[in-house]
């Protein structure tokens, strides 16, 4: 008995439900918690795709890093504004129509495209293959990423510096 379809449908419905909660929740803090749930569910989807390394990266960077930064920003801004952040949405109908149009467009394209059903075998050690490619074939993007991080670090510190 193959458990993969069960895992896919369970995680997929969890993902869709928590994503809807992210965009519809009135309380911004609850939105962030639902986003954490959605990102963790995505790590589970990566596991069903046999990408264990990426599931770990997803949990560390996204569910760990991004959620921490967003919660920190909410705490800081809540102190600045002084009252509880509730958020409202505007133009729900045009937004829903636009998103539905994009979805129908993508699904229509997916319906016509020939897509494989079977999975070809991956190399024996995927994590080793990723690490090897990172330092040989993709070493330039890897180094550029380091430069990008330096720029982002300096930029974030510059923007968030205290007023003189």
């Amino acid at each position: 008995m193959n458990l993969e379809p069960i895992a896919f449908w369970g995680l997929g419905s969890l993902l869709v439900a928590s994503s809807l909660a992210v965009v519809l929740s009135k309380n911004l803090f609850h939105s962030v918690l639902y986003l954490a749930l959605a990102l963790t569910g995505t790590a589970g989807i990566f596991l069903t795709l046999e990408a264990e390394f990426l599931a770990a990266v997803q949990l560390l960077l996204y569910a760990g890093g991004v959620i921490t930064i967003v919660v920190f920003a909410i705490v800081v801004t809540e102190r600045l504004v002084g009252d509880r952040i509730t958020q409202t949405s505007r133009q729900l109908l045009p937004g829903a129509l636009g998103a539905a149009a994009v979805l129908i467009g993508i699904l229509g394209f997916l319906g016509r495209a020939p897509l494989p059903e079977a999975r070809p075998p991956l190399p024996a050690e995927v994590t080793r293959a990723i690490g090897h490619a990172l330092l040989t074939r993709f070493v330039l993007p890897f180094e550029l990423l380091a430069v990008l991080f330096l720029a982002a670090l300096l930029g974030a510190m510059y923007f968030a510096r205290p007023d003189d």
Binding site: V16, L39, T48, L80, R90, V102, A129, P141
Partner: protein, 99 residues
């Protein structure tokens, strides 16, 4: 499950994220919508990599995840900056350039 199922799930998440970006008024809420959209893109990348049997696609996902984290850090720094100078979180209130 075939590739189609994963791509459909990613398209659904992308549309939900787009809905959030368009309808949210709070800037942090808009950023959360962008996160959802980028997350859907990551699912697409991993699914294509798996069904092509090529680890290079997984490597791209590592890059996109890292760049997203940098983007969130800078975006939230900008949000904090805007709070400090304009005292507002609502994107509609930032209309300095309106003619």
């Amino acid at each position: 499950m075939g590739l189609q199922a994963y791509l459909t799930l990613a398209a659904l998440l992308f549309a939900i994220g787009l809905f959030g970006v368009v309808t949210r008024r709070n800037m942090i809420g808009i950023l959360l919508g962008i996160e959802l959209m980028l997350n859907a893109v990551n699912i697409n990348l991993v699914a294509f990599a798996r069904f092509n049997g090529d680890p290079a696609g997984l490597l791209f996902t590592v890059f996109t995840i890292s760049i997203t984290v940098a983007e969130v850090a800078v975006g939230l720094a900008l949000v904090i900056r805007i709070f400090r100078s304009r005292r507002t979180v609502v994107a509609d209130h930032l209309d300095l350039l309106r003619g």
